[in-house]
């Protein structure tokens, strides 16, 4: 470790905290709005530290108590009053989890093949996968809408899960491929000489080694799906709506319900935070430590 003077250590620590504060402050301010009532939100100068906290916004958004309204009333009611957003949060959770599982599963298998197996056009295949992300999503939204209409996938969980998984796949494949590429090929070869089949090698040896990579990819896929707006807007009507799309309904002809919007946003952070917390223990570096002499 490089020896540093005490003053330089203090400056570095202070700078570090300043950067953290810079990122954390907007989040804190957003949270305070969720706990303020209508008038207080617009106070100038804003009451950043001292105000009278209320949970009214949350009550309005989720219908008095959390869990109320699940499955009962799925349409969004425009205007003030009770928004009943509980089911929308559930929609987001279902879509994000299933699309993440789907894309990570497919990406893991595909990228192992791309990393380890030799087949004609392998390198073109990687470029082709990447090229699918070069088009702006809005360019494919309308064609996808018509395809979905033909396949009766409009306004269904399956439809949204599929399109989110599809959008995530290129990035997930490339990301996972880089994790597989980092594992020395000698490990596969050694297992092959040991008499193992390709599937056994993948399942018993390689897969446990890319757990960290899968967790990282899952976090990215989850966040994409959790925040995706365009496809949910175009491919759903009343069957389901995810949080980003319903958030826009707080902007009404009679004004924007900032407190409600902040309350929904704050609540929406919890599942995403829990998911990341769940997978982050797999985000351990150095999984290959000890396998080979570097």
């Amino acid at each position: 470790m490089i020896v540093q003077s005490k003053s330089s250590r203090t400056i570095r620590t202070l700078l570090g905290w300043a950067v953290v504060a810079l990122f954390a402050f907007p989040l804190y301010y957003w949270l305070t709005i969720a706990f303020k009532d209508g008038r207080e939100i617009f106070n100038y100068p804003p009451d950043v530290w001292f105000f009278s906290p209320t949970i009214r916004n949350f009550e309005e958004v989720f219908g008095i108590s959390l869990g109320f309204g699940f499955g009962e009333q799925r349409e969004v009611l425009p205007g003030g009053g009770n928004w009943r957003m509980g089911p929308r949060l559930w929609d987001s959770i279902v879509v994000a989890i299933f699309s993440t599982v789907l894309s990570v599963s497919i990406a893991t298998l595909a990228s192992y093949a791309l990393s380890r197996m030799n087949f004609a056009g392998r390198h073109h295949f990687v470029s082709w996968i990447l090229s699918t992300r070069m088009m702006p999503p809005v360019a494919v939204a309308i064609p996808v809408f018509f395809i979905y209409k033909e396949l009766s996938l409009l306004d269904t969980y399956t439809g949204v899960i599929l399109i989110h998984a599809l959008m995530n796949l290129p990035l997930a494949v490339l990301l996972m491929k880089s994790f597989f590429d980092d594992i020395p090929k000698e490990i596969d070869e050694s297992a092959m000489v040991d008499g193992a089949s390709r599937w056994l090698i993948f399942r018993r040896i390689i897969l446990p080694m890319v757990r960290g990579g899968m967790a990282a990819t899952a976090v990215l896929c989850f966040i994409f799906s959790w925040t995706e707006f365009l496809f949910v807007l175009t491919l759903t009507q009343t069957g389901l709506k995810t949080v980003p799309v319903v958030s826009s309904t707080f902007v009404t002809s009679t004004g924007t319900a900032w407190g409600n919007m902040a309350a929904l946003g704050a609540a929406a952070m919890i599942p995403a935070f829990l998911f990341i917390l769940l997978v982050q223990r797999h985000l351990v570096r150095g999984l290959t430590l000890g396998s080979i002499k570097q």
């Binding site: 070869e189 050694s190 297992a191 092959m192 000489v193 008499g195 193992a196 040896i205 002499k293 570097q294």
Partner: protein, 357 residues
């Protein structure tokens, strides 16, 4: 246990030919070392034997059966990799037993064989550890244990000791050789370290630029190198090579060159006038005042057992001589050595081939 035969084996990567028309026979239970500098194709040849590289030309046969198109898992071979290639998420026990598990052996048999291998390799206490918790030497033993338990026909070692420190390397050399004596398995061992080759091999295959230069026992290669390359590759300190010509003065045959003149065996008379390179091993000279090999002492290296004198001859070429610890000499002294004509290796200067008489 098995025989291995290479017949006209060649390997190309695109337009680059890395192995050329290579033929070799390995008998049952033999310990063969493929020796050569980096990039000479020895590891490629080993990987082709394992089935990890395709064979561009010729054929490789294990126990008489051609294996060119046989998958690695069906060749019944065991391989120890240079960088160990252990499975990091598995315990040592599972690492060693993985091959048996893949072969669907009963758990009882797997356990017994793993514990037997661990006992032989002295790693029983580490069986429940992960590879990351082991030292380099212990990891190397695990890799060897993995190969041992499988009763493979042929054992392949790809520079298994190159990552270990000098002391451990010397120790593991003995262990690998003992293991071979115990198992009696046909073994192909790749290394660039001529000491490993000399100390372990029944037969050394010295390679250069994708071809075999010489095949023989360690003594064959040391005592009768068939070319200057082999002479220079084998032996520490390296052989002294002096360029000059063979002179016949009417009575005796001499080498003359590099400011020196010393006797050769009379049979070289027929090559009088030929430009040659004479190879003299540093251990084959004896200090003798007025001896024909002489020069100014540049430096004395103490190896503990003996002394290495680095001399500069009259024409500036360097010469190394090994002498007992009691031999006096300090930098700047003039020293002389004599050599037994029978110990002088004579090579054609142009082709580098040994001149036999």
């Amino acid at each position: 246990m098995a025989t291995v035969r290479f017949q006209g084996v060649g390997k190309s990567f695109g337009s680059i030919k890395v192995l050329k028309d290579l033929s070799l026979s390995i008998t049952d239970g033999e310990f063969v070392v493929l020796l050569g500098a980096s990039g000479c194709g020895k590891t490629t040849l080993l990987r082709m034997t394992a089935g990890l590289e395709t064979i561009s030309e010729g054929e490789i046969a294990i126990d008489g059966g051609v294996v060119n198109d046989v998958h690695p898992r069906d060749r019944n071979i065991a391989m120890v990799f240079q960088n160990y290639a252990l499975y990091p998420t598995m315990k040592v026990r599972d690492n060693i037993g993985f091959g048996l598990e893949a072969a669907k052996k009963p758990p009882g048999e797997v356990k017994a064989k793993v514990e037997e291998a661990a006992r032989i390799l002295n790693i029983t206490e580490f069986l429940d550890r992960k590879p990351a918790e082991l030292s380099g030497g212990q990891r190397q033993r695990v890799a060897m244990g993995r190969a041992m338990v499988r009763d493979a026909k042929v054992f392949l070692f790809d520079e298994p000791l190159s990552n270990l420190d000098a002391k451990l390397r010397a120790h593991m050399r003995v262990e690998i050789r003992q293991l071979h004596n115990r198992l009696g398995a046909t073994t192909i061992y790749v290394t660039h370290d001529q000491i490993e080759a000399m100390t372990m091999a029944d037969k050394i295959v010295l390679m250069q630029d994708g071809s075999i230069v010489q095949v023989g026992t360690p003594d064959d290669l040391y005592d009768r190198p068939n070319c200057r390359f082999v002479a220079e590759f084998i032996g520490t300190p390296a052989i002294n090579c002096l360029t000059g010509e063979i002179v016949w003065d009417g009575e005796t045959t001499h080498f003359s060159g590099a400011g020196m003149k010393f006797l050769l065996t009379p049979e070289y008379k027929i090559h009088a006038g030929k430009s040659v390179t004479c190879g003299i091993r540093p251990n084959d000279v004896t200090q003798a005042s007025g001896g024909p090999i002489h020069g100014k002492l540049l430096i004395v290296e103490k190896t503990g057992a003996d002394l290495q004198f680095h001399l500069s001859s009259d024409d500036g070429s360097e010469f190394v001589a090994v002498a007992p610890r009691s031999t006096p000499g300090t930098a700047g002294d003039n020293m002389s050595f004599s050599v037994d004509p029978l110990k002088v290796h004579v090579f054609d200067q142009a082709s580098g081939k040994r001149i036999d008489v």
